[in-house]
Every structure is written in structure tokens, then in C-alpha cells.
Symmetry: C2
Subunit: 252 residues, 2 copies
DNA sequence: TTCGATTTGTTCGTATGTATT
DNA sequence: TAATACATACGAACAAATCGA
């Protein structure tokens, strides 16, 4: 009889706290608890899931580390929002070369709806023909244009997204996704390169096309690593820099 | 009588696990346990520090998350090293535009010792006149030059650092710092911008000086946020990109 | 202002499982 | 096989913060 290796399905079941974490994440993705709201208390969740409070805490720990939940002693545990100023800087890394870190001013330059084309498929893997919205947005720092974002979002998850909704939003773009559409961006992946900007973009950023600019290809993800938004960004790095910290961690 | 706010020194003492974490970090900085070595087991540390094993685990948790320690079930807890292939990619983010992720080939182009000058002070805050070593190192991917690093290290922590030590090292540069000098890089901070490379560097990277390149200013830190190494890097992003992921985390 | 209920934060302890040597 | 180490899970007790009565 052939000695059989341990069968794959007995490979060791996921620990309980992962199962709990998974159930919480699914509830978040389903919109059961909305951004800014409190989720049930630890004792309640423990009873609900029939596990110890320690297991609940362990499950929540990682979600807090991933900035998906926020804990506050004495108050409760809340679904993270993009409306607080400090959360902005999780995903915004442009700082002045002098070290200054300002709050960007946003200006909507264009909005239209169309179908995804070959370049979308090539750059981001979006299936050709998918309905998308295109948003051109300018960020100014100290009153001067620094970042131009060309944003592409499949409209499937963003029904009734229109120009005025975008223009009249309060707060950040990810704050809008969250508040209006229940889409919570929890992770982004960016690929940077240096290139000469296209003429129209160079003009907007107040630079010559012969000057180098920083080009960024960004994909933003919601829970469960599902992509929700795609961007091409052009950054004028004459007076600003892109900050990358790896890894800010403990050890005071 | 003026109502006094709670005095600063009763502000709430650090929790016990932070104190433990701090003591472990100090021991690491002092070289008490060296990279690759095991630190005492949890039960031993618990007895040593007179705290519960749970508190020890909590203290170690953050150091593991910060990649300062590595836990292995059944074996022990070890001081992280830079010699394992996978650790390289914590601090190396250059990938092919086609998505390929290769192992870089390193080539030493220059080595000399001198005193820090005005530009060091301006770029990195190094005091003028400090003794430093300068290393020029080229990284090739797929046989072609892609990244040029101009490295500056104060020689204070690196006694007897010379060219042959550098040239004949096995593994990465941070691996050398660790194995030879007990200096463990645990965090880096990078500032990126797009610029035209200087003529000599453009030549090395096989590009024209009129082409844009990615410029990176990096500071590498050891325990307790003490800076140990400074770099200017130039990256040819014709066929490669700089990858920035925020934040790879949980939630499978 | 005070007090009590609620909620998270910290610390302890114990038991059992799994991986390594 | 036995000893050792980390991993998971449970539970208890108290501290600290918050909030409303």
C-alpha cells in the first residue's frame, strides 16, 4: 500500500481567529457595518461567534493593523473612514523638498463616461468594452499645480456617479467612494517611473515637455483584494518629492 | 487655586510589554544577540523579566511585524538577517515593466574615503568633516545596468571598511553591514523625484542625459531610528519600475 | 459634578496543538 | 520517543476611557 502524504484537506485547518477575521471582512464587504459606524463590541461578537473574547481580539488586531478598523478605548471599534485628515496621508506621499507636508487642494478638470479601450486592458487588465468613468483631477500644493490624476473607475460599483457628485464632494475622492458608494479603499499598489509628460499634461503642470516628471500607475483595492479604481498620475518633482517609508514600525 | 492638569510624569506609565520590547531592542542594539542567532525562549525571557509569557509574546509580536525578529515554531525566535534571498526584496523594489522580478547582479565601480562636505550636510544632515566612505555600486538586471547607487557611510560604525571587503562580500550590502559590523538595517526612508541624470551616470546606465531617470535619496536606519547609511540612486526606468505597495496586509 | 454602565487595554494564568531536534 | 519551542484558544481580573443619567 502506497504511503499517502497527509491529504491536502487535512493540511491544517485555518486557525479560528482567521475564520472570525474572514467573517468580519465579509460583513464589511457586504456593507453590514458602514464606514464610521461601530461594529458590535468584543463581548457581543464573542457570544455571536461562540468564541472567546481573546480570539475576537486577535482577529480584530490584524484588521486594525491594516487600517480597516479603528479601536478606541471606552468607545468601541469602528470601520475606518477616509474623512479624517490623517487618513489622507496613508495614500498621499507628496512632500515639499524643503520637508513641508501640506494639505493638497483639489480641482476637477474633466469628467466623462465611455468604454474601456486597448490601453486600459494593456495598462491595468481592464476588459475592453467595460463601462468606465474618466476623471481628470488636479492637485495643487501651495497654490501651484503639482499632481495630475487621470482616474478610471468601472461604473459597475459606482452607479449614478456623475460630474456634480464628484465636483461637490466634501473631502477626498476615497472619502466619496466610501460615503456614497460604500466602497472602501484599503490598499493601493503603485508603479513609478520617470518620463517626459505629454504636452497637454505638461502645460497643466506648468512645465515644459522636455522636463522629466514622475509617472505613477496606481491600482486601488477594496476588501478581499478586489480592484476598484485605476490611475495614471503625473507629478512635477521640481519642488516636491514622493515619499516612501519602509517600514515605519514599533521599536520607538 | 488653579486646577492642575495631571502631571506629565503620571501621564500613564508605558505598558509592561513596551518596557519589555524596549529592553529586547536595547539588547539587540548592544549586540547581545547577533543576527541569525536565537534569542532566549519565551519561557526563559518570561522568567528573566518576571512577566507572564503572554506579555513576552506581545512584546515580540511587534518586533516580528517590523521584521527585526523572526519566529519559527518548534525552533525558536531569531534575529533577522539580510542573507536570506527573500529579505532582499523588502528593500529592493525594482521590477520589470513586464512584471518580471529578477535578482540583481552587483558590480563595484568605485571606493574611496574622505570627509563629508556641504552637499552631504545639505542632502542628509551629515555634519561637515565627518569621516565617510564613498561607494559607487551598479546593479544590473538581466545583464543590463539599471540602478546606480552612490553610497555614503560614516566610518565610525564601520571600522576597517575597505574596498576588498566590499568587493569580496557574499550577498547583499546590508548583509555585509550585518555580518561584518553588527549593524542591522531595519528601516529605510526614500524620497523620489524625476530628473535628468548627470552625464557620467547617464553613460553608466546606457542612457542619454536628455532622458529622464528616477532619482532616489535614501536613508537607512538601524535599531532606535539611528541612521547608518545614505544613498543617492539613479534608476533607468525605460524597462523597469519602482514598486510601492501600501499596505500589504492581512484580510487574505 | 458624580456615578455607574459599557467598552477597549493590559496582564496574568492554563491547557492543548504542532513543529523541530 | 521525549524534550523543547512556538501557536492557538480559553478565561479571569483589573485598569482606563467614554458617555449618559
Amino acid at each position: 500500500m502506497a504511503a499517502s502524504a497527509p491529504t491536502p484537506d487535512t493540511l491544517t485547518p485555518n486557525p479560528l481567529y482567521r475564520e472570525v477575521q474572514w467573517r468580519i471582512t465579509r460583513a464589511l464587504a457586504a456593507g453590514e457595518w458602514k464606514p464610521g459606524e461601530a461594529i458590535p463590541s468584543e463581548t457581543r461578537l464573542a457570544r455571536q461567534f461562540s468564541v472567546s473574547i481573546g480570539t475576537i481580539r486577535r482577529a480584530i488586531d490584524e484588521l486594525v493593523a491594516g487600517r480597516i478598523l479603528v479601536r478606541q478605548q471606552g468607545r468601541g471599534t469602528f470601520v475606518a473612514t477616509h474623512t479624517e485628515d490623517r487618513t489622507l496621508f496613508y495614500f498621499f506621499h507628496i512632500v515639499g523638498k524643503d520637508g513641508s507636508s501640506e494639505f493638497p487642494e483639489s480641482e476637477l478638470l474633466g469628467f466623462r463616461k465611455e468604454r474601456a479601450g486597448d490601453s486600459d486592458e494593456h495598462d491595468f487588465g481592464i476588459t475592453r468594452g467595460t463601462r468606465v468613468a474618466r476623471v481628470r483631477n488636479l492637485l495643487k500644493l501651495g497654490g501651484r499645480p503639482v499632481v495630475l490624476d487621470d482616474i478610471t473607475v468601472p461604473t459597475e460599483r459606482f452607479t449614478r456617479l456623475d460630474e456634480s457628485t464628484f465636483r461637490n464632494r466634501e473631502g477626498t475622492i476615497y472619502g466619496l467612494y466610501q460615503a456614497r458608494y460604500g466602497v472602501n479603499v484599503v490598499r493601493i499598489s503603485e508603479r513609478l517611473s520617470a518620463a517626459h509628460p505629454p504636452a497637454d499634461i505638461a502645460a497643466i503642470l506648468g512645465m515644459r515637455s522636455s522636463q522629466p516628471a514622475l509617472h505613477v500607475r496606481r491600482v486601488a483595492y477594496s476588501y478581499n483584494d478586489s480592484p476598484v479604481e485605476y490611475r495614471h498620475s503625473w507629478i512635477n518633482t521640481a519642488d516636491h518629492e514622493y515619499l516612501s517609508d519602509l517600514w515605519k514600525t514599533a521599536a520607538r
